[in-house]
Symmetry: C2
């Protein structure tokens, strides 16, 4: 095989993560090391940048910028939710050809892997040698073929700390507002919601109930389970996936024809306050979960960088049509290496929480899940403290 | 004046902050140093603990517990939203007397200062010498008589970082979902929402619009202002106080007689998507603002400790019926000392954002606000980075 030389294009696609720019920097810095790579271009707003021939020269960015990007949320190249049409793909390859692009790294989730797969296929069909590598990212952790997804660890760290801290706040409020529902991203997969358990230290630590889409719950079960926890502990913290409640009454319209807003958390708020007569408080951190850079997991940031680097090395080594994966090679101490999986096995596939990670009742995670996820969130957060509360004998 | 000797009781009341336990530890550690203080008792669930004669001996807690409490959110003694009845006050003084309590430190907001004021008054009336000191806390920063309130700086740090990071995430999404509304605590006072501006570095950094209760906005203004920002920048980040929208349609009921949920953010989501045809995303971190311990401001934690210490010294020195205040004695470098203000001037008063901190249009803060608030959130967070985006000349 003759050595292929040419430019590399990198793009970012789908919802950003707190560490998606680590993968970008990994691609850039590795590209600058490779003799076969003559230039490293960024495609603005995902594949749309190629389609519109809007590329930027990433090789000219300063080292300060690259190092700053490693703690910067959002997608530095801009992202997009545009689905390429059939006729777009030939245009994509035409633009690549015009710029002498021979290497294409696409950072994204399921849909983006589908795009990379199709670009690869069209290039092959038209006889243009273009090496296409997928770089995984998603806070949902739902990509198949990889131990976990870059982006998940940092979002999981945020969720774990958020559930812990809002839970301790709720505990201290007692029966004056005893129920807290924290709604967590995940319409189909409960990986991120499960992470709410990661900062527990002792029995009774929040969250007390975890509801995920893999085990949808009905109203009667929620009411009974929350009621039991409040009876036992005078408070209850629920970690709730967006998709854990099958029917939230969305789609109803009000008298003005406005769609009634409110998802899973508002639904629980309603049924619990109506049926248990308890004050229910809701936290919806939403996009903070995928962007809150103060909670970037070092492990996650380093792995995101590593999959970016690896994508470039794979492309230079002649691979195409694959996504970089993370392969756990040791658990204690935790260690991951990179691997590959064919893009066509990833595109549009979705990995859900396996049974072994969910308790029998379906309202909690297992020790196996904690072992799986704990290394991904980085160093354990400093422990909180509870008063021993040495009672003073009452006198009057 | 004869030296007064006896036990000290401390309680926590109202909504917790991320640093309310720093004040508790300040009270405990200072009490242990004072010869006049024979024991330091905690009242469980605010003043209710005294009323029910449920006290704990805080002098027996370990140094490890005390140091851990300094990073622990929630109120370690439990808190309460119970308003004492007239007949309760004499019982409170009776229990204090039975336990030989001569010093009372109450950590809380406006309502709690009212409680401390009344306990002081009843003790005086019944001729029992009891020195009552208020210790301020509130993320709302709305207590009169003090430069700022312990608890505000940490909540402000969280809000500043959240608005920045979710804003950068939004920017990178572009027109596919260009509007982000982050709803921030504050029904009457906009201090915390104003803090969303504290992590801005350059023109164009989020948030682009700040709406506070001191300048309530109508629908037409919001629609026009958000439309203008999106036209100029392809995205718009709005920091919105809970109380900035006078009429959110709350109180309407749906067909089933359920109250329609949704406050200020949902209202903006609805009018902006309907009238501008833009995708609007909402973040509601709610109770994370007052509990997220990863964002504790060192300045805030130290000041919270300091007001606790100071309360004890004041009580020992013969003061009663006052709240500890923070007095800014230098701006550069920032320095605060403690002072006092009579409790009756605080109880039920409320300090709003002054005009000088709000822009003429009322949708942003001024440099004067930034100068005021910036020192309170602790060291500046590490800066983010933007690509320079050196354009590659288009070819096809």
């Amino acid at each position: 095989m003759a050595t292929l030389r040419g430019a590399l294009v990198v793009g970012q696609s789908g919802g950003p993560t707190a560490v998606i720019n680590n993968s970008l920097v990994g691609v850039i810095e590795q590209s600058l090391l490779e003799e076969q790579i003559t230039a490293v271009y960024g495609s603005l707003r995902g594949i749309q940048g190629v389609l519109q021939d809007r590329l930027v020269d990433l090789g000219r960015e300063s080292p300060q910028t690259l190092s700053g990007l490693r703690r910067t949320p959002g997608a530095a190249l801009g992202t997009v939710r545009y689905k390429l049409q059939e006729e777009d793909y030939e245009r994509v390859v035409e633009v690549m050809r015009a710029h002498g692009v021979r290497f294409f790294c696409y950072i994204g989730g399921n849909d983006s892997m589908d795009t990379a797969y199709r670009v690869d296929a069209v290039a092959r069909r038209t006889g243009y040698e273009l090496r296409c590598i997928g770089v995984p990212k998603t806070v949902d952790n739902d990509l198949a073929g990889t131990d976990h997804c870059p982006g998940y660890g940092s979002a999981a760290r945020f969720v774990a700390l958020a559930a812990r801290d809002t839970g301790w706040d709720t505990e201290s409020m007692g029966l004056s507002s005893p129920v807290k529902v924290i709604e967590i991203m995940g319409r189909n997969a409960g990986w991120l919601t499960a992470a709410a358990a990661l900062a527990r230290k002792e029995t009774g630590d929040p969250p007390h109930l975890i509801y995920v889409p893999e085990r949808p719950v009905d109203d009667a079960t929620v009411v009974a389970e929350v009621g039991d926890v409040v009876a036992a502990r005078e408070h209850c913290v629920v970690a709730l996936s967006e998709g854990a409640v099958p029917d939230t009454g969305m789609g109803e319209v009000d008298a003005f024809g406005h769609q009634m807003k409110g998802g899973a958390a508002e639904h629980l708020e309603r049924i619990l306050s109506e049926q248990l007569g308890l004050k229910v408080r809701v936290d919806k951190p939403n996009y903070l979960q995928r962007s809150f850079s103060t909670c970037i997991s070092e492990v996650d940031a380093n792995e995101a960088y590593m999959v970016g680097q690896s994508a470039v090395r794979l492309a230079v080594d002649g691979k195409s049509g694959v996504m970089v994966t993370l392969v756990r090679v040791a658990q204690d101490p935790y260690q991951c290496e990179t691997g590959t999986v064919p893009l066509e096995q990833i595109a549009n596939a979705e990995r859900l929480l396996p049974d072994v990670y969910l308790s029998e009742q379906g309202n909690d995670v297992t020790a196996a899940f904690l072992d799986y996820a704990r290394p991904l969130i980085g160093p354990p957060p400093p422990p909180l403290a509870r008063l021993a509360r040495f009672a003073v004998p009452p006198l009057v």
